[in-house]
Amino acid sequence: MNKIEVLKSELSHNFDLSNFVFSHQFGDDVIQSPKEQIIAILSYFKSSGRFDFLMDVCGVDFPHRPLRFDVVYHLFSSKDGSRLRIKCQVGENESVRSAIHIWRGADWFEREAFDMFGIVFEGHPNLTKILTHHQFVGHPLRKDYEADAQQHASEVLPIHFDSEPGMPGSILNENLVPLNIGPSHPAMHGTLRVMLELDGETIVRSKCDIGFLHRCFEKMAETHPYNQVIPYTDRLNYCSAPMNNVGYCKAVERLLGVEIPPKAQVMRIILCELSRIIDHIIAVGTGGVDLGALTAFFHLFTYREKVYSLFEKLCGARLTVALTRVGGMAQDAPEGWFDEVLSFCKEMREGVDEISKMLLDNKIFIKRTQGVCPVSAQDAIAWGYTGPLLRASGVNLDLRKTSPYYGYESLDFDVPVGTNGDIYDRYLVRIEEMRQSIKIIEQLCKNIPGGDYTIRDKGIVLPEKKDVYGNIEGLMNHFMLIIKGLRPPIGEVYDATEAANGELGFYLVSDGSANPYRLKVRPPCFAIYQSFSHVVKGAMIADAIATVASMNVIAGELDR
């Protein structure tokens, strides 16, 4: 009996299943539920312990259907790594009940679905715009909204707060000091805005305002062919661009039902692990800067530059590489590249030890971070934390271990886990992960498989340039694929990879045309950052700065 049948028989004890549809598509388990039952079924799965994570909530628009919207929930179980998609249909003027009382982490995801589609979540305490500016009219991800219909903002909202029970809402308390930080502030990394009310230096309440880098990734994906979306994915988490490329291509490949050759798999892992290292370099380096330790940042950047040189040799670009294609890699590695990666690993190993001494053994650093704003494992799961932050809270969850891909299962590496989820543990985990990534790369570079770097399916991958210019078949193939486009079958798939910040998921809906019908990104730091206001409540303002830095919020993937 497969998984979905098990779920069905389990549910049949508690629910009348006549209105439910169970299916298994492209390797994903899906339950279609009536919207009245959605909260009951979500809380059943939560309380029975079958699924402990709510990974994503999003909307999909089908304007020609009587009930126009799909609300899609993605559940995940950290015990066996299984996933479940629950969908319900909602009409244009209808509402669906909010899941925020079951999983606190549903908060921003539901606000986003409201902002993008106008889906109303009944019972959500603060159902307001989140990504677009406050003067924006309409819901941009609806299919009838033009992709390039810009609306200008003339001002930024003044300091405001969420309505909470026992709090005066947007009215400021005249005995407290209101403080606005950002979006143009060094500690806010360029695009984050935090509004605080302070009693002395203690934070009484706070609110995050995001969306200052909302670049409409999802709308752009709907208006571009599959392979042209890859450069846009680069700019999600721009600190580790190749990981986004890999995550997106992996989702498309699963929908197409193709498996990439061993060499491409190995190259992708090497790129991912190099990216993990340089992403952690930025996280640890700027984290130090925010605490006043500038040296580590400049020192670490030397190593980042070395990885840039490796990327440059591979494709010509430094930061936004767009290295993968659907079906494999864009091109083969040049002669001797893997040896250079190996010698980089040797240098990096020393670099990590130095940084570890400079920061983790530093008295000031320890005092600023140890025991500061800890997040318990239970809270972390409720908020939807993944990646290094979740592991710092003591939960041993790494997709490379629980649902391995590209041969991670055959590699020897450890998953570092923290104990109390404070800021110090987060850096501890990140620095150890850099060591583990080096270990992975070294194992792979010593044993590079032969063969091609991409599949050679004429309907998916463009022929090589020498064939396009050299023979008529190649030319025809190139012409046809450009004109017709890469067309996956009708269907949908949710695919996740372990990115540097946590679970990076792509929910891809295809209607069989050359563009994705809907591409939802589940960015790891979106779920993490929504907990900020709660985590820093009652802390000192300097600790809030350290918390933002340790969450490693990358605006590109936060706002998309």
């Binding site: 677009t132 810009q150 200008h152 903002a153 360029g190 721009y238 030397t302």
Partner: protein, 172 residues
């Protein structure tokens, strides 16, 4: 030679030099740019490289990064400016003291780049005057250094900047 003329002559041989006032002021300005890194996106990461150990903007006299607009005279717009961000950018520009210069780094800041999208401003020059545009997505650090050198040349030549003189705040 009178004794007075002689002393001036001696003086000029020792430490004095003659120049035009505007030339020496421009020389000072061009070699002591204090940048405000308005890094919003990917270009901000590449701007770190420009400041970092390998490319080292300090060689051009512009290493004193200031996040306070009151202390900076070069606004480096590094990254996409969204519709939500535009009013903030204008506020920052207005808060900067004269003389002030703007360098637009990368395709997004210059024209919106490949984000022809509902929430992206199609170039920061729609709201503030820009002196130098640096192409690239993101530009290589060499390109940014070239942009800074171009700006330095503009400053030392005292080039007229009508786009700046004719600028009006879009929200007034």
């Amino acid at each position: 030679m009178t004794s007075e003329a002689q002393s001036i002559d001696e003086l000029s041989r020792s430490f004095a030099m003659t120049t035009r006032l505007d030339a020496i002021v421009a020389w000072g300005r061009k070699n002591a740019l204090w940048p405000l890194p308005y890094g919003t996106a990917c270009c901000g990461i590449e701007l770190m490289s420009v400041m970092g150990p390998k490319y080292d903007l300090a060689r051009f006299g512009a290493e004193v990064v200031r996040f306070s607009p009151r202390q900076a005279d070069l606004l480096i717009v590094a990254g996409t400016i969204t519709e939500k961000m535009a009013p903030v950018l204008v506020r920052i520009y207005q808060q900067m003291l004269e003389p002030k210069y703007v360098l637009s780094m990368g395709a997004c800041a210059s024209s919106g780049g490949f984000y022809r999208a509902y929430h992206v401003l199609q170039g920061c020059d729609m709201v503030i005057p820009v002196d130098v545009y640096v192409p690239g997505c993101p530009p290589t650090p060499e390109a940014v250094l070239d942009g800074i050198m171009t700006l330095q040349k503009m400053i030392s030549d005292n080039k007229p900047r009508p786009w700046k003189d004719n600028w009006k705040c879009p929200y007034e």
